[in-house]
Amino acid sequence: MNAHEEQVTLEVPATAEYVDLVRITLYGIAAKMGFTFEEIEDMKVAVSEACNNAVLHAYGNPPTGTTSQAPAIQPKMEIRFIKKEDALSIIVKDEGQSFDAMAVAPQSSPLHGKSISEINAGGLGLYLMQALMDQVEVHSEEGTQVILTKRLVRSEETA
């Protein structure tokens, strides 16, 4: 790890009711770093989408090939905020099944130029992450890891 990097790690149950806690933490870190209100709003949405995926993985898609027993340990997700000199990266890691490879492919604006009967909200979460962050990486090995990065553009005065 780079000497100029600082990390904050949050581990919470992979449930929907903890996603707002992640947003509040993100707000605190990003505001201190000097991101604008609009940039913070963008990151809030992107990070929440990554957390939503982690929650849905934990409860929506139980891994195949296991017994039908309920998990003995409550699923968790880990959110790591990496403060760099010129960027903030947020890593959202879950223990669930990996992402659908199709869903990871970059998409164009999903609802543009379609009729009502054609529109479908599937894939909107990933689309928003890509539209709102400077960089999005998805790694699926044991569980899924989503790495979101937003560059910090300092104004002339403070540079």
Partner: protein, 110 residues
Amino acid sequence: MKQTDKFQLRTETKEGRCIVYVSGEFDLEVAAQMRAAMAPLVELTDRELTLNLRDLKYIDSTGIGILVSVLKARNAKQASFTVEAIPPTIRKLFDMTGITPFLTRQNQES
């Protein structure tokens, strides 16, 4: 958490219009509550259905997905569904996903 961020829903019916006011954070956590609240209203085809977002602080793709499903259900019944008083931060997400024209179409035509 600030009290104002808590999701709240209020329905007002008057003169053939049904207006649903949602405030706070409309996300995965409240998706089931919102779906359940909207289901009976979607069936009232003799009324216009409007969602007022004036006090909405946040929406995610789950929330947008629910708007899409309400829109589709109303459209199938040839009944109207519009969204009004969209705050700028939420409008930005609607524009990005391309849902804006579907939600404001009737307003623009009238």
